[in-house]
């Protein structure tokens, strides 16, 4: 068991890759075996993630040096800096790992029935596993170039999966937009990485952070990195691709795409808090991120109001919710240098944002799965052509209501638990931001109530009279999300203490991140 945990961080990335390479071979022989292997593999990975999370929270940062003579040997003898690629897993990484593990399992379970009858399933599962491996790699790696490589894995497999339904022109265009945006964003990331490499001749995040001088070139690199990752996560000036992409992908993929966006947000935070840390012009950068957040909240919700397509509505809601997280992180970053402010409300803001990340993945995931279930049965996403579905699809209606209430931040659901943390801490920083946030939440509620009434209530439309409830595996997938949402809503304090608080501490503690890598060398 100890060896398993010692190697767990690499196994979490390598096992999905191994299964992905095996899937085409197994799939040629038997479909059932393939599905079983995928599910068993991802469950094993999820188990490893939880074991690793426990270990990291108890024993501190976990490092793994690839190809060295011992996993913990970060700096070889005779060198002053890390040479090899190092996986560095701290509280935030395992937190994101838990998000990816839960969401990927649910996505696979949901796909089992929603993909039934489609051609090309072998390749679908292969790409899905590659995307999961890429997301794990993004959150676990401690090396900037490695981050870029995994970013590319997620974007290429994601784009191919968005275009999965080749009979619709829309999905091809969605895939095209996704890959163009991702390719440009990741090339910008690579350019920024090369600017950093040019000055310090280093690629490891911890070592770079230790050497960081914050010269003009570093500032240029920072601006490019913020722009690229904001583009990748759909922050507002670059949000145009997001609704086109999310609305046309198979829903199980959309759920994973949300997680990948979260991983981009994680990368942004890793760069802001750890790579640059206190050397930043904290207030300026913090306010830039807050501005992106506020714009995302505002534009996301106003665009959501006028949508008639249910998936596009939820996609714009995603833009809006990621605004909340950006505001939380921005406030945390703005007060990072100021110890009293950080202690009184800064860490709370960061905790709220981190907690909102997992909640966002859960409730938006649930909403997308519901939208997918509706599409699976009636074949349209247009709200104006739905009506009375609640009479026959009772579970689906209940899940939609649950997701909508959680998303608009009503107690006692998880959205409330995280939004209240953001509200009360941001209020101490700047009251206007909180007021905007509450307004946006109210409009969100209005949007969802309208959508719920037009889709689920009213008289049963004659053409939908013989619509049945969706298959059991789809219900099961939605139930997993729903149960977790309710648990998180009922016991938010527990969750915050277990996983959110360690993640926050890891994010604001730049010194221990650096010391784990640089070790004895002063």
């Amino acid at each position: 068991m100890a060896t398993l945990i010692e190697h767990s961080s690499i196994l979490i990335i390598a096992v999905p890759l191994l299964i992905a390479f095996l899937t085409p071979l197994i799939g040629m022989a038997s479909k059932k075996a393939r599905n079983a292997v995928v599910i068993v593999g991802l469950s094993f990975v999820a188990f490893l993630v939880f074991a690793l999370a426990r270990d990291v929270i108890l024993n501190g940062i976990h490092t793994y040096t690839l190809g060295a003579t011992s996993p913990s040997l970060t700096i070889p003898e005779g060198a002053m800096m890390p040479i090899r690629i190092i996986l560095e897993v701290d509280g935030v990484s395992v937190f994101m790992g838990i998000v990816v593990a839960i969401v990927s399992l649910v996505a696979v379970v949901y796909s089992l029935s929603s993909m039934k009858g489609e051609t090309g399933q072998n390749r679908f599962y292969t790409l899905l596993l590659l995307m999961v491996a890429g997301a794990f790699g993004m959150v676990f790696t401690g090396d900037l170039f490695n981050l870029f490589v995994f970013l590319e894995i997620t974007s290429i497999s994601g784009a191919a999966l968005v275009a999965f339904k080749t009979r619709f022109a829309d999905s091809q265009e969605g895939g095209f937009k996704y890959i163009v945006v991702s390719a440009v964003a990741s090339l910008m990331v690579l350019f920024a990485i090369s600017l950093l490499y040019a000055q310090y001749n280093l690629l490891n995040i911890g070592a770079l952070a230790a050497a960081m001088q914050y010269t003009m070139l570093d500032r240029i690199a920072l601006v490019i990195l913020i722009a690229a990752f904001a583009m990748k996560l759909g922050g507002v000036p670059m949000h145009m691709w997001l609704s086109d992409t999310y609305s046309v992908a198979p829903v199980s993929i959309t759920v994973l795409l949300i997680t990948v966006s979260q991983a981009s947000m994680y990368a942004l935070m890793r760069i802001g808090f750890i790579l640059y840390g206190v050397t930043l012009d904290l207030a300026v950068v913090g306010w830039i991120i807050i501005a992106i957040g506020i714009l995302s909240m505002f534009i996301g919700v106003t665009m959501a109001v006028r949508q008639t397509d249910i998936t596009r509505l939820i996609a714009y809601n995603c833009v809006c919710e990621s605004g909340f997280m950006l505001v939380g992180f921005g406030v945390g970053l703005a007060v990072l240098g100021n110890h009293t402010a950080l202690r009184t409300y800064g860490t709370t803001a960061i905790s709220g944002a981190i907690f909102h990340m997992i909640n966002h993945a859960l409730f938006e995931g649930l909403l997308f799965l519901v939208a997918g279930a509706i599409f699976y049965r009636i074949g349209t996403r247009d709200l104006n052509r739905m009506g009375g579905l609640g009479h026959t699809m009772k579970f689906t209606a209940a899940f939609f209501l649950l997701g909508a209430l959680a998303s608009s931040g009503l107690p006692p659901f998880n959205g409330f638990a995280s939004k209240i943390l953001i509200y009360e801490s941001v209020y101490q920083f700047n009251p206007v931001l909180t007021i905007i946030g509450i307004l946006v939440s109210i409009i969100t509620l209005a949007v969802f109530v309208k959508a719920f009434f037009s889709a689920f209530t009213g008289a049963v439309l004659p053409k939908y009279e013989d619509i049945k409830e969706v298959p059991k595996t789809m219900i099961a997938a939605m139930t997993i999300f729903a149960v977790i949402i309710i648990i998180f809503g009922l016991f938010p304090g527990l969750i915050v203490d277990w996983i959110v608080r360690p993640a926050t501490d890891a994010l604001v503690d730049q010194a221990s991140y650096i010391n784990t890598i640089m070790g004895a060398i002063p």
Binding site: A159, F176, V180, V184, L187, S194, L203, S243, D244, R312
Partner: protein
């Protein structure tokens, strides 16, 4: 000024290529041209990376029958190799998507094919 410009010529070339790539991506509407823009952009980043690793008078970092002299930096070359393969992969996938879009809409103009409006 001119002297630094000549001295840093590869860097200038990389920046100019990047400008061309971004210009294409922002202003051109033909889907194939967008693919070209991405490829040019990635070439510019590759050029930039390789330039960073050059040492004056350096030799290739291979010891087989190597002449005397400093070796140029190997890590950037590995990074460039990785990025080249990634660029190939990306353009293959984008081209297949473009072919599909062309089959569906009969046009390569992004304005015409863009039916989805927010």
């Amino acid at each position: 000024m001119i002297e630094t410009l000549i001295r840093n010529f590869p860097l200038v070339a990389a920046v100019v290529l990047m400008g061309i790539g971004l210009y294409i991506l922002i202003f051109k509407r033909n889907l194939i041209k967008i693919v070209m823009g991405i490829t040019i952009l990635s070439s510019s980043v590759n050029l930039f990376l390789v330039t960073l690793g050059y040492r004056t008078g350096g030799i290739a970092p291979i010891y087989t029958d190597a002449p005397e002299g400093l070796m140029v930096l190997p890590v950037v070359q590995a990074l460039t190799l990785t990025n080249i393969v990634i660029a190939v992969a990306t353009s293959a996938l984008i081209l297949s998507l473009v072919i599909r879009i062309y089959r569906h809409t009969g046009s390569l103009d992004s304005k015409k094919s863009r039916r989805m409006k927010g």
